[in-house]
C-alpha cells in the first residue's frame, strides 16, 4: 500500500519536475537561466558520483579529472582540428571512458582509504597535465574559439536554447541511471557497498561491476565536460582541480549519496548557496566543509532524506504524546 502510494507519488513528482524544467526559462530572469544550465551540467557529474559512491560504495576524489578530460577532448578536437562538435563529444566520451577503463584495473585493486588517495592523486596528476601540456590545452590561459553546438540550422548559441539542450540530457541521464539502479546491476552495486566479500561469495562479479560503474560515471563526466565547453566556448584547466572534485562530493552528499533524484536537489542547493555566499569571498568553502561533516555525522542519508526522517520522527512523537 505504502509502496503503491510512493510509486504514484513518484510519477507525480516526475511529471511535475519535467513540467517545471520546461517552463522555468519563461518565468525566471536570464541570470537564473544561465545558473540552471550550470546546475544541469553539474547534475550530470553528481549523478555519476552518486552511482559510484552512494550505490557502489567506492570513493572518487578525482572526479573532476574526467570532467576535464571530456572538456579538453571536445575543445581541442572541435576548436583546433575542426572536428564536428557532436562527433568530438562522442570521441571525448569514448576516450574518457577508455581512460577510466584502463585506470580502473590498478585502482580497484585498492579499497576504502587507499582507493580514495589513489583517485585523489590521479585527479591531481591530470590537473597538472591539463596545465602543462600547453601545446594542446593552451596551458593556464586556456583555449578559446570552441564552436557552438548545432542541429541542422538550429545553433545553440543562446542561454535559452542551451538550457533545453542541457536539461534534456540531464533528464535522459537521470532516467537511465534510475533504471540501472532498479535493475539487477543496481542490486549488485548495493550489495558491493554493504559487504564486498559477501557479494563475492554469492557469485557477484565485484570487480566487473566496479569497473562498469566507474566507466559509466566517467562517461557522464565527459558529457558534462563537453556540454560545458560548448556552452562557454572556452576552456582552461582552472575548474578541474581538487576543490571541484570536493565540491561534487558536497553536492552528492547534500542530495543524499544513494539517491539519483537527490543529485538534482543537492546540485541546485549547493550552487545557490555558493552563489549567495559569493559576495562574501570564499565563505562557500567553509560552509561546504561544515556541511560535509555535519551531514555525514548526523544525516548520512543526505540533507533531504535526513530532514524528512527528522520530521517524521518529531511527528510520530507528537502523535504518541497526543494519545
Amino acid at each position: 500500500m505504502r509502496r503503491r502510494l510512493l510509486g504514484s507519488l513518484k510519477v507525480w513528482a516526475l511529471s511535475a519536475l519535467v513540467v517545471a524544467v520546461a517552463l522555468v526559462p519563461f518565468v525566471v530572469n536570464p541570470y537564473y537561466t544561465s545558473l540552471l544550465i550550470v546546475i544541469g551540467i553539474h547534475t550530470l557529474l553528481t549523478v555519476g558520483l552518486c552511482l559510484l559512491m552512494g550505490y557502489t560504495g567506492q570513493v572518487s576524489l578525482g572526479h573532476a579529472a574526467f570532467y576535464g578530460t571530456g572538456a579538453f577532448f571536445s575543445a581541442i578536437l572541435s576548436a583546433s582540428h575542426g572536428v564536428n562538435p557532436w562527433l568530438a563529444m562522442f570521441i571525448a566520451a569514448v576516450a574518457t571512458g577508455g581512460m577510466a577503463y584502463l585506470v580502473s584495473f590498478p585502482i580497484f585493486q585498492l579499497r576504502g582509504n587507499y582507493l580514495a588517495m589513489a583517485t585523489l592523486g590521479f585527479g591531481i596528476i591530470l590537473w597538472v597535465a591539463f596545465r602543462e601540456l600547453d601545446q594542446f590545452t593552451g596551458g593556464p590561459s586556456g583555449l578559446s574559439g570552441v564552436p557552438y553546438l548545432s542541429i541542422g540550422g538550429l545553433v545553440f548559441n543562446t542561454d535559452f536554447k542551451y538550457y533545453y539542450l542541457v536539461w534534456i540530457a540531464v533528464l535522459g541521464i537521470l532516467f537511465i541511471s534510475q533504471n540501472i539502479v532498479n535493475s539487477r546491476t543496481g542490486r549488485a552495486m548495493r550489495s558491493i557497498r554493504s559487504n564486498e566479500d559477501a557479494a563475492r561469495s554469492v557469485g557477484i562479479g565485484v570487480s566487473g561491476f566496479k569497473v562498469k560503474v566507474f566507466v559509466l560515471a566517467a562517461v557522464y563526466a565527459s558529457l558534462a565536460g563537453s556540454l560545458y565547453v560548448h556552452y562557454l566556448t572556452f576552456v582552461s584547466p582552472q575548474p578541474f582541480g581538487f576543490l571541484f572534485s570536493v565540491r561534487l562530493i558536497v553536492m552528492a552528499v547534500v542530495g543524499g549519496l544513494a539517491s539519483i533524484w537527490g543529485a538534482i536537489f543537492g546540485t541546485t542547493a549547493v550552487t545557490f548557496m555558493s552563489e549567495s555566499l559569493h559576495r562574501f569571498g570564499e565563505l562557500d568553502i567553509i560552509l561546504f566543509g561544515f556541511l560535509l561533516m555535519v551531514v555525514m555525522v548526523f544525516l548520512p542519508q543526505g540533507l533531504t532524506r535526513g530532514l524528512m526522517d527528522l520530521y517524521e520522527r518529531v511527528r510520530a512523537r507528537a502523535r504518541g504524546a497526543g494519545r
Partner: protein, 289 residues
C-alpha cells in the same frame, strides 16, 4: 656534481618534513584505522599560527613554537571529539568524507582569516648559506633535519618506555584486546589525533622559513606525507621516515634535473606504484579487524 649534492641535501630536508607528516598519518591509522585527510591542514596551521605569534604577538621563537604546536594539538583534539567520535562506527566512505570536510573547513577559515598570500617567517638562525661538500645549504635545513631526528628519538622513547605509549601500541596491534585489558580505546584515539596534530604543526613550523606557507599548502603536503606513510604500510614508523626521506630526494632531483612543473605529478606517480606494491599488505591490515 655540486648541484646534485645540493639537490639531494635539499631533498633530504624536504623529505624530513614528509617523514614527520607520515608519522602523523601512521599513528592515527594504527590506533584508529582512519586515514586523516586533514593531516596536511595541521602542517599549514602550524606554519600560519607560528607566523601570527611571531609577527603580530612578537613572541620569542621558542615560545611561539611551543604555543603553536599546543594550539594545533588542541585543534586535533577538537576534530576527534566533534567530528570523528560521533561517527566512529560509520562506514569508511563516511569517515573519508568527514575528514575531507574537516580539511576544507580548516583551509577555508585559514584563507578567510589570513588571506591568500604566502607568509614569510625568518629563518631560525640567520640566512647565511652554509657550504657543505661543494654545495651551499640553507641553514634552516639543519633545523629541519635536527627537529626530525629529535622527534623520532622522542617518539621512540615515548612508544617504548611510557605507559601511554605502550597503551597506544596495544591499541594499534589489537583494539578489542586492548580494551579488554582496561585500556580506554576512545581516549587513545583522542591522544592519537592530538599527537598527530602536534607532529604536523612541528613540521609546518620548522619548514616555514624554507617554503613560505600559505593557507593552501595542506593538500599537497598531506598527500606527500601519505605517500611516505604508504611506503611504510601505515604500520611501520621507521619505514615511514625512510619513505619520507626517499620521496623528498626523488622529488628534489626530479624538480632540479627534469622539470619543476611535473615534480608533484612525479611524486603522485610514485604514490600509485607504492599503493599497488603495498596492496597486499593493506588487505592483511584490513582483515585483522
Amino acid at each position: 656534481m655540486g648541484t646534485v649534492v645540493e639537490l639531494c641535501l635539499y631533498g633530504v630536508s624536504l623529505g624530513a618534513i614528509y617523514a614527520i607528516i607520515a608519522l602523523g598519518f601512521t599513528i592515527i591509522h594504527s590506533v584508529t584505522r582512519i586515514i586523516n585527510f586533514a593531516q596536511g591542514e595541521f602542517v599549514m596551521l602550524g606554519g600560519m599560527l607560528a607566523f601570527v605569534l611571531l609577527s603580530s604577538a612578537h613572541l620569542p621563537l621558542a615560545v611561539a613554537f611551543v604555543l603553536a604546536v599546543v594550539m594545533v594539538a588542541l585543534i586535533g583534539l577538537m576534530l576527534e571529539r566533534l567530528a570523528i567520535r560521533p561517527a566512529r562506527n560509520a562506514p569508511v566512505v563516511s569517515l573519508i568524507i568527514i575528514t575531507i570536510g574537516a580539511s576544507i573547513f580548516i583551509r577555508g577559515i585559514a584563507g578567510k582569516v589570513w588571506g591568500k598570500d604566502p607568509v614569510v617567517i625568518p629563518a631560525f638562525t640567520g640566512e647565511e648559506p652554509v657550504s657543505f661538500l661543494g654545495a651551499s645549504l640553507n641553514p634552516q635545513s639543519f633545523w629541519v633535519l635536527g627537529t626530525t631526528l629529535a622527534v623520532m628519538v622522542l617518539l621512540h622513547l615515548f612508544f617504548s618506555y611510557t605507559m601511554l605509549g605502550k597503551a597506544l601500541r596495544a591499541c594499534a596491534s589489537n583494539r578489542k584486546a586492548a580494551s579488554l585489558v582496561g585500556i580506554n580505546v576512545g581516549t587513545m584515539s583522542l591522544i592519537a589525533f592530538s599527537l598527530s596534530a602536534a607532529l604536523g604543526a612541528t613540521a609546518g613550523i620548522v619548514v616555514a622559513p624554507i617554503t613560505f606557507p600559505s593557507y593552501s599548502v595542506g593538500v599537497m603536503l598531506g598527500l606527500k606525507g601519505f605517500v611516505a606513510a604508504a611506503l611504510g604500510g601505515f604500520t611501520s614508523l621507521v619505514l615511514a621516515v625512510v619513505g619520507g626521506l626517499g620521496l623528498g630526494v626523488v622529488e628534489s632531483l626530479a624538480a632540479g634535473l627534469i622539470s619543476s612543473a611535473y615534480k608533484d605529478a612525479i611524486a603522485l606517480a610514485i604514490l600509485f606504484v607504492v599503493l599497488l606494491v603495498q596492496v597486499r599488505r593493506f588487505r592483511e591490515v584490513g582483515e585483522e579487524e
